[in-house]
């Protein structure tokens, strides 16, 4: 439904106000846990438990927004971005645990190494198109995790092996608050980078590649360089999140830094929110990560699912996520962000039209 320009503006204003209030609350509520705030008699609006969930949510904002650069804007469905998350986590983790570097010095190397690795594997991988690239990138994601766990030198695991890697706890007051805001900083960088990309020659080149790579090449876009740059940029942001995660979580191993399900989740978040847009992936990440936590039973407001025992819950959560993926791809192909700009409204005819557009 195309609305008039007037109501378009009104909806956009409502969206901005509501979004601003939610963001402001999410950003400021944790501050009420500071001693000074407590002393001043400000009510506690959050607790440590929420810090952890909120930090996870923001981490996925980074992952989904980063994936959007290669998957959404450039149109290359990368299924192995978790490799960059793990590389970032292990870069920072190794530098802190083995080389005794301070965290804030070790952290900048996480995106650098992840980007270098992406450029290296991107050169051969990005020659593949469509499904071939998707499958090959998935392979890389799995392979890197296995390598990190299994590389030995003189009989000793180099990266901590199966028992993982322990980092010294970062000595900072209000740790939960510190890492939440640090992750928010990474998210802000990811969103700002996306905003810049979509307004630059670089971004127009990437979109041209997505829409038609041959046509992009003959108008003068260096497609190989652009694709590798987009991949490396996505990897750098993903690696940054990984680097923060390693010090935040204190313990890293293959399971928590190379989880295959992250690959699917970050893509689903970007799709749900709206690929190729600035805020879509972030919106999708918040919605979906809260849903994942809710279904997994981690939220205090969760309730029992009917007919489901507590042991079967994670499996049911996966099934629901899978169904959601199908529904989103078929009925909301441009993501929920589509409803917030004021140009379209969620209606039966919208869903019918989407179904028609996405079916053969």
């Amino acid at each position: 439904m195309i609305a008039t320009a007037d109501s378009q503006r009104r909806w956009r204003r409502i969206f901005l106000i509501v979004g601003g209030i939610v963001a402001a609350y999410a950003l400021l509520a944790p501050l009420t846990s500071l001693d000074a705030a407590q002393a001043a008699g400000i009510p506690l609006l959050t607790d440590k438990f929420w810090f952890r969930i909120a930090t996870y949510v923001v981490m996925f904002v980074v992952l989904a927004t980063a994936w959007n650069i290669i998957g959404g804007i450039t149109g290359y469905a990368a299924f192995g971005n978790v490799a960059f998350f793990g590389i970032g986590a292990y870069t920072t983790g190794m530098l802190i645990a083995k080389a005794k570097w301070p965290f804030l010095v070790a952290l900048p190397l996480a995106p650098v190494l992840a980007a270098l690795f992406a450029a290296l594997v991107g050169l051969p991988l990005l020659r593949l198109r469509g499904h071939y690239f998707a499958v090959a990138s998935l392979g890389v994601g799995v392979a890197v995790g296995e390598l990190v766990q299994n590389i030995d030198y003189n009989g000793q695991p180099v990266f901590g092996g199966a028992s993982g890697l322990f980092l010294p706890i970062y000595a900072v007051g209000h740790r939960g608050l510190f890492f939440f805001y640090l992750m928010c900083g990474a998210a802000a960088i990811a969103i700002a980078v996306t905003w810049w990309v979509l307004r630059s020659r670089f971004g127009y080149g990437l979109i041209a590649i997505r829409e038609n790579e041959d046509a992009a090449a003959v108008i003068g876009v260096n497609t190989t360089a652009y694709k590798v740059a987009a991949f490396a940029l996505a990897a750098a942001l993903t690696g940054l999140a990984g680097g923060i995660f390693s010090q935040w979580n204190v313990f890293i191993n293959q399971d928590n830094t190379f989880p295959i399900e992250y690959n699917v989740q970050m893509i689903l978040m970007a799709l749900l929110g709206g690929t190729g847009t600035v805020f879509g992936p972030a919106a999708g990440a918040v919605l979906l990560q809260l849903l994942i936590q809710f279904l997994g039973g981690s939220l205090p407001i969760s309730f029992d699912l009917p007919f489901v025992s507590s042991e079967a819950r994670p499996i049911v959560a996966q099934v629901i996520l899978g169904l959601l993926l199908v529904v989103v791809v078929i009925f909301v192909p441009r993501g929920v962000i589509d409803f917030f700009g004021g140009r379209t409204r969620l209606s039966l005819s919208y869903l019918r039209r989407s179904l028609r557009d996405t079916s053969l």
Binding site: S200, A208, E211, D214, I219
Partner: protein, 261 residues
Amino acid sequence: MNTAAEPQLELRGVTKRFGGVGAVDGVTFQVEKGEILGVIGPNGAGKTTLLNCISGVHRVDGGDIRWEGRSIAGLPPHRIARLGIGRTFQIVRPFGSMTVRENAAVGALFGSSAARRGLKEAFEVADQVLELVGLKAKADHPVSALTIPDRKRLEVARAVATRPQLLLLDEVMAGLNNVEIDEALEMVRAVHATGVTVLLIEHVMRVIVGICRRAIVLDFGHVLAEGEPEVVLRDERVIKAYLGERYAKRLRGERGQDSAS
């Protein structure tokens, strides 16, 4: 600087094989600066393959392609585009998620390196080009709202926006009706008038006669004939290639009677 005698583009024995079949086989010709050269031939003659070789979409298997005296064979497409050779695709390839104006602007954002623009200027160039090809009124339309002739115009607009010195047009008239062909011819003339050399690939003979001073006929990857369009089209080998041996014989018979009477 180039001497006046030097051709803008020169093909020397250009060969491209697909699985042993020579789609383009030892093609040699020159394109002079400022001309409109027609390349015609029946289906499968190798016209599009030839264009793909020049624009770098295909790597040539033999021979050389020289642009202003320098070999460009083997260069990737974007390098060739930056030298100032623009092209269209026979099956149009618009950037579907962009508006008409954005499509043209992307051409101006990239394109020949001599004419690279910033974002704001690129959109100004886009507006000029859209006016030139007659799409100005539809600048803010999404590509999906365009008719087939308009999509062909957009294909040309995007290529022109790259500010090429040589424009390779791959069957921009194919699938158009007579009125639309006349409009498209006007558009090609308008583009040519801005100082662009045009290499026009066409299946439709009428187009070539109407606009080109010189035409080259391709058949089975070879140059069959070269010269003024009217002369070339009366060439018996050309008629045979297009219409078959029997028709050529019948035509020969008719002409014999004509000269006898």
